[in-house]
Amino acid sequence: MLEKLMALEFTPFLISFKLASITTAILFIVSLFLAWNLSQSKSRFKPIFEAITALPIVLPPSVLGFYILYSLSFHSPLGRFFQDVFGIKLVFNFTGLVIASCFYSLPFMVQPLQGGFEALPKNMLEASYIAGKSKLKTLLCVALPNIKPSLMTAIVITFAHTVGEFGVVLMVGGSIPSQTKTASIAVYELVEIMDYTSAHIYSGIMVLISFLVLLLVYIFNRKQNHHLGGLS
């Protein structure tokens, strides 16, 4: 067991966490504006955008993976454009993995943020507009600092969800060692070759990290609620 542990390859974990960090950072920027606009929108078309945003939750990862794979590959205009103009291949490498993860984890960032923004008292935002502040300034200085628990939830769940993704990563990334083989795929492959000891160690590490991360979120949110005593 100890030998196995010493000899274990930790690159899949590094890839998983690198992927999750980059995806979370990109999604935070994108979702901040998306969630804010959705929360403030009174448009008739809002449900359409909300449904599209939530699609990755209900779609089987293989379906999502297939569409992403197809649209990034050389067979689609987009994939061809990137390859011809920038010389970048978008599938079966880390870049493709990041793009796919951004689609896959989008609702996990957007929904908590949108919920947080919608729960803010409308008067508070109006007070900021009346004080002469733009929507952007209101978002950054008033709305965002007052949804800390939602913000924390959004970031952590997005990160954890990206670490845990399997189907999409396998389809778009193709499990290339040291490039696109993430921890979740590594476990799958270890089980397939019946190396149960290594699979146990990998899985154990994943469970432990996930538990600690979630525990921290709940402790943080509890403290926030105690300190703020709710809004207003």
């Binding site: 008067n123 109006e126 009346i130 004080a131 207003s232």
Partner: protein, 285 residues
Amino acid sequence: MIKIDVSKELLGSLGKMDLSINLDISSQSFVALSGQSGSGKTTLLRILAGLESAKGAIKVDDEVWLDETHSLAPQQRGIGFVFQDYALFPNMSVLDNLLFVRKDKELAKQLLDLTELLELSSRKPATLSGGQKQRVSLCRAMMNRPKLLLMDEPLSALDPLMRNKLQHEILTLHKKFGTTTMMVSHDPSEIYRLSSRVVVLSQGKVLQDGDAKSVLLRTQGSQKFSFEGELLDIVKVDVIFIAIVAIGQQIVEVVLDESEAKDLQVGDVVSIGTKAFAPMIQRLT
């Protein structure tokens, strides 16, 4: 001078209602808006603030805030707004709430000093009492030296003692800065004390418009006293009847004869008035 001529279709408690208001408000005046809930008071304030759309025109001195073609954004109107639920920014200290509006430390300190909040400058809103929060909100609204200060039932969530104190502070600030002010209020003593003019709305229209005394005094003809109240009960005692009426926070008894008692029903809104007599007035506290 503020010229208001706006209309808007509203969905009120009694179905569709047309808000249609035409008012001229002179500079530095203090106007109280009164009327039953659902009569369009808050909507009128929100239209003035640019938070709600409306048809018509709003002109403030030479500035056009609203006409057929465009509506000035709330950001550009230069107003102050005090909400009933304070609407402070919980992530900022008292002082930062004020400075967020305008980076003018001197004015902020002056306002906090006037409202006795200077010691609480660095506190977060969540740690303040209701009265303190509303004072911060009032100071914040004064920070951009507004052309028009709008207050939507600013004191209705506070207890009577705190209300008195804040009425005094609102008056102090009004006298010091001379800001044209519109305040929604239901409290006659508050309206009388603060405002120079009362506008009563009903079903989206101006029902009464005048100085506080002429609008608020509910006497007719030679009546000296007149109170409105709700008839709670009629009790028969020997040959007479006694009506029990709630007036404000007090309950009074009035003697009725049989014909009067037959005419009235429990739950009626009644007016109790009296003529020529010499009332006694005594200090209680």
